[in-house]
Amino acid sequence: MSMSTADEISTLLTANFGTDPVAIRPDVPLRQLRLDSLALEELRLLIEDRLDVDLDDVQLTSRDTVGQLVEAVHRKAAA
């Protein structure tokens, strides 16, 4: 069974940013995970490569929550 989008993003965060998996919850803002503007752009590339989606027109800010990010990726994957 393939991983869910949330699991994929969680794995990327843990492996590439050293994020504590316990801290990755849907309601947590990305800035709370210490994801600054550079990290968000890096994450965007990683998600695009991993999930084969185009997030070019997705606005990402560190105020967004993990849940909002997952939802945005879902929407683009379904489009």
């Binding site: 590439n16 940013f17 050293g18 994020t19 550079l38 590339l45």
Partner: protein, 414 residues
């Protein structure tokens, strides 16, 4: 009989050293390897360089930089910065300093690098041409710059005084230490972490160096390729690594009861104003730098017992440098080129080799120039070969020359 050497009015105290080289991880490991007749240079063929006339380089192996630094910090640095931070941590610990309690605004960082994150540029240029602009990493612009090592070390240590990069090609590390010496002398800071860092396994750079005929093409025997002062030398071999010193104002080191490994007593620099590549054929530029450093240190030729030479293993550098050393210092100093074990680490070379000169002073031991099997009869200085040679000396010299005619020299004393 000459008068005993006395330190000049200002001499910076060297209280810590940190080394990451292909010869060893850490100052002790590197020093042991340099003086171990059974140790062999670590010069593997590299996949990145496959097909080039020179496909090998001195490489730092057995070091998991990601594990040492942690994932979060590791991703925000290029490899040359990884090596710098690891060397800086060792140097600061060696000096007995605790960044949690030091006066951080009085701690400076000066790190030399010739090429910064060049391999990252290589990689991302490939991404750009093969996959388009949107696949280029946002990290390239902030991390691959030459100042990356200085900013990474300052961030890692919490050093909030002046921080800067020095880029004078292959003399960068030596100029960084000279710059640190001047900063301490003017009172701009109390402590400086200074030296050099480089990691350039770059297909682009090595291809160019091959075209320039500057690097050895002894592809069947890479371990023997770097042979400074040898009759059969045919070019340098690129290495990677970092070498950093903790330098302090002497009264600062004294006040905290620090053990002083050595002193940086004098510094000189000069420009050949001659060529983008070749050194002044008469060595007049490096001679000016060396004479300035000697005058700065209040030292005469008789005081200098050892020279850690630039000694790149190119035909012209080694001859020009050796003739100059004989002219300025005479025939008595024991000369070595440790590049035969560490490779030519370009912007890091001055940092690594100054740290090794500090160790030579402390141990009263001159490490050998390995691979020196057939000394060039035109080299008019006493080059230590094969085995380390014990000696008694109070002062030593480090010389560096860089593409573009950037020369630098340091006088180090006990």
């Amino acid at each position: 009989m000459t008068a005993p050497y006395r330190l000049p009015p200002f001499a910076a105290a060297v209280t810590g050293i940190g080394l990451v080289t292909s010869a060893g991880i850490g100052a002790d490991a590197t020093w042991r390897a340099l003086n171990d007749p059974a140790a062999a240079p670590c010069v593997p063929h590299r996949d990145e360089l496959r097909g080039l006339p020179c496909d090998f380089m001195y490489s730092v192996t057995g070091l998991d930089t990601r594990a040492v630094l942690g994932v979060a910090a590791h991703r925000l640095m290029d490899r040359f910065s990884h090596l710098a931070v690891i060397a800086a941590r060792e140097a600061v610990a060696d000096a007995g300093l605790d960044p949690a309690v030091w006066d951080s605004g009085r701690v400076a960082v000066v790190i030399g690098s010739a090429h910064g994150g060049l391999p990252f540029y290589d990689e991302q240029h490939t991404a750009l041409t093969e996959r388009g602009a949107r696949r280029v990493s946002p990290k390239l612009a902030p991390l691959a710059v030459v100042n990356g090592a200085a900013s990474s070390v300052a961030t890692d240590l919490g050093a909030r005084g002046p921080s800067q990069a020095v880029s004078t090609a292959c003399s960068s590390g030596t100029v960084a230490i000279g710059t640190a010496h001047q900063m301490l002398r003017t009172g701009a800071c109390d402590i400086v972490v200074a030296g050099g860092a480089e990691s350039v396994c770059s297909r682009l750079l090595i291809a160019s160096a091959c075209r320039l005929k500057a690097v050895s093409t002894r592809i069947d025997d890479p371990q023997a390729a770097c042979r400074p002062f040898d009759t059969h030398r045919d070019g340098f071999v690129v290495g990677e690594g970092a070498g950093l010193l903790v330098m302090e104002r002497p009264e600062h080191a004294r006040a905290r009861g620090a053990a002083v490994r050595a002193h940086v007593a004098g510094y000189g620099s000069s420009s050949d104003a001659y060529s983008a590549v070749a050194p002044d054929p008469d060595g007049l530029g490096i001679e000016r730098a060396l004479r300035t450093a000697l005058a700065d240190a209040g030292a005469g030729p008789a005081d200098i017992g050892h020279v850690n030479a630039h000694g790149t293993s190119t035909v012209s550098n080694d001859l020009i440098e050796a003739v100059m050393l004989r002219r300025v210092l005479g025939e008595h100093p024991l000369v070595t080129s440790t590049k035969a074990m560490t490779g030519h680490t370009l912007g890091a070379a001055g940092g690594i080799e100054t740290a090794l000169t500090v160790l030579a002073l402390q141990h009263q031991l001159v490490p050998p120039t390995v691979n020196l099997d057939a000394p060039d009869p035109d080299i008019p200085v006493d080059v230590v070969s094969k085995e380390a040679r014990p000696a008694v000396f109070d002062a030593a010299v480090k010389t560096s020359l860089g593409f573009g005619g950037h020369n630098a020299a340091l006088v180090l004393t006990r």
